[in-house]
């Protein structure tokens, strides 16, 4: 394909029949968030159960893991806030989302012709987002307390067990959501991964999976669609 067929839009290379699914900024934010989350997941699991403490050895040893986990947690939190500033308005649950959720069974079992149309994010993606968002808030508050327990132990000694319990519980919620998220993005929804990696998806994919979003882009933001469509 020669270069004159490529249109650059929102930091994304568009070729014939493609649409910008995620801007470069959104992709950066997502993957910074993903990399820091995976580090937190692995080191957190190492400290959660003896069966996975070997991960701590792999990642530099217990004291190293104990040193970096809070710092990376802080980075993850900042990235989450950045993501929130970009996406929170798009994550509001609408009536159409509730209609979509009524057809969730059909969606999960690949009876896609029975699935209600979805916007840029479907209701499942929105739920994932809010689980991660609220869990992050719990994790950062409890995490900071666990970072410097020697500074709070005198006043809150009786509360530290609750703090640690909440930290683990919130983390487990994110793990459940994360497993489903990765499965959906990498395995279940073909073509979804390329959207978040390189930003572009085929227009046919957009119509199939996020029809309401596609209709909206078509009428409101044509810069996201490769010009050869028009």
């Amino acid at each position: 394909m020669s270069d004159d067929n490529v249109v650059v839009s929102h930091g994304t290379d568009l070729r014939k029949g493609e649409i910008v699914r995620y801007t470069l900024k959104e992709r950066m934010c997502h993957w910074l968030s993903a990399v820091s989350y995976v580090y937190l997941l692995l080191t957190g699991l190492a400290l959660f159960t003896p069966y996975l403490y070997w991960i701590a050895y792999v990642l530099g040893g217990g004291p190293t893991v104990r040193f970096w986990h809070p710092w990376v947690g802080l980075v993850f939190f900042v990235i989450q806030m950045w993501m929130h500033s970009m996406w929170s308005s798009q994550m509001k649950v609408t009536d159409q989302d509730l209609d979509w959720s009524k057809t969730l069974k059909a969606y999960v079992t690949n009876r896609d012709e029975q699935v209600a149309p979805a916007g840029h994010f479907n209701h499942g993606q929105k739920q994932f987002y809010w689980i991660m968002y609220y869990s992050t808030l719990v994790l950062i508050v409890t995490g900071v307390l666990m970072w410097f327990p020697e500074l709070v132990s005198l006043k809150a000694h009786g509360l530290m067990p609750v703090v640690i319990f909440l930290h683990c519980t919130a983390a487990l919620f994110t793990i459940g959501a994360f497993l489903i998220h990765v499965y959906m993005g990498v395995v279940f929804v073909s073509g979804g991964l390329q959207g978040i990696l390189w930003g572009h998806v085929p227009i046919s994919w957009a119509k199939a999976h996020h029809r309401l979003w596609y209709e909206k882009v078509k009428s409101e933001d044509r810069s996201r669609i490769s010009s050869s469509e028009f």
């Binding site: 003896p50 893991v65 104990r66 209609d99 067990p161 459940g176 073909s190 199939a208």
Partner: protein
């Protein structure tokens, strides 16, 4: 401590078994799963005969190689408000009123070496805390990661963090001395016979006979032994003037237990979380095998329309 007389019974943050092996009945009726015959050791602190000389404080520092740290004057004879990472043995001085009369109470504060140690339960680091079959709970700083979960698990506020080394320290019950057949340094230094060391059985006998004597010969009719059952008993026990008021001896909890949320976190949450993660991955795999991925292109126009 790699000594033949110190057999490991429990290891923090550890999967699988402990070294040793073999199971037999001990003379005291307990099952023992180590290679050598061993008995539960115990330190008896008879607070009624403590004179507050602090010889045990000095002996502890001497044996463990710590310098005498800065002291705090607090209108009492107490060396400092609390034990520290390099000060494991502290006499707590308390003045309380009983029936209009003043009582000057002195209690040797140190790690209680719980039979069910909350520190060990809370610790995530493999081998940072070990419990020997003789009852000693020992910290191994080489494996400590400095998370201070042990502080959270301890009902006696004993483990102390050193911000410089990022490790936690506490009384070892002189496991190095005990492993070599010696008594702990504090016991060795006590001039009044307030401190005793031996098997748990012997120390309980001694404590109970002392309680009988106190009740018979003094006005302390409520004297008793402090060996709290909430943590399976301790390997440091006290004879108290009033067994119902342990708090008056400078924060000795009346009914210490491992905090509820530590038990929940290290019990149900850990297992439910682990099982949940494994089942979750299995369920997703099962879903993939049953339904496979969504197809990318077929029925473009038909997709997304409710039928």
């Amino acid at each position: 401590m790699s000594n033949g007389q110190l057999e490991i019974k429990a290891i923090s943050g550890h999967r699988g078994g402990t070294p040793g092996g073999g199971e037999y009945d001990q003379p005291n009726g307990k099952k023992h799963t180590g290679a050598t015959r061993d008995y539960d050791v115990c330190k008896l602190v008879d607070v009624t005969t403590c004179i507050g000389c602090k010889a045990c404080e000095v002996a502890c520092l001497e044996w463990n190689g710590y310098e005498f740290r800065e002291t705090t004057f607090n209108d009492t004879y107490q060396t400092m408000p609390d034990t520290a990472w390099n000060f494991w043995n502290l006499i707590k001085f308390n003045e309380v009123e009983k029936d209009g009369e003043m009582q000057w109470l002195m209690r040797k504060d140190q790690c209680m070496h719980c039979e069910e140690p909350g520190c060990l339960m809370a610790c995530p680091a493999d081998g940072a805390i070990v419990q020997y079959t003789n009852g000693i709970v020992d910290f191994n700083q080489a494996n400590c990661i400095g998370c201070q979960y042990c502080v959270t698990g301890c009902p006696f506020n004993i483990p102390k963090f050193n911000a410089e080394t990022k490790k936690v320290y506490k009384c070892t019950l002189c496991s190095d001395r005990v492993g070599a057949g010696l008594e702990p340094a504090c016991i060795k230094s006590c001039p009044t016979g307030c401190l005793h060391f031996g098997s748990k059985e012997d120390m309980l006998d001694l404590a109970n006979s002392r309680v009988t004597q106190i009740k018979r010969e003094t006005a302390h009719k409520n004297a008793g032994v402090y060996d709290p059952p909430g943590i399976g008993g301790t390997h440091v026990i006290y004879v108290l003037h009033d067994k119902d008021k342990p708090e008056q001896y400078g924060g000795l909890p009346k009914d210490p237990t491992i905090p509820f949320f530590v038990k929940m976190w290290k019990g149900p949450l850990k297992w439910l979380g682990g099982i949940g993660m494994v089942l979750g991955v299995a369920a997703l795999f099962g879903h993939h095998v049953r339904y496979g991925p969504k197809s990318l292109h077929d029925g473009d126009e038909g997709r997304g329309k409710a039928q």
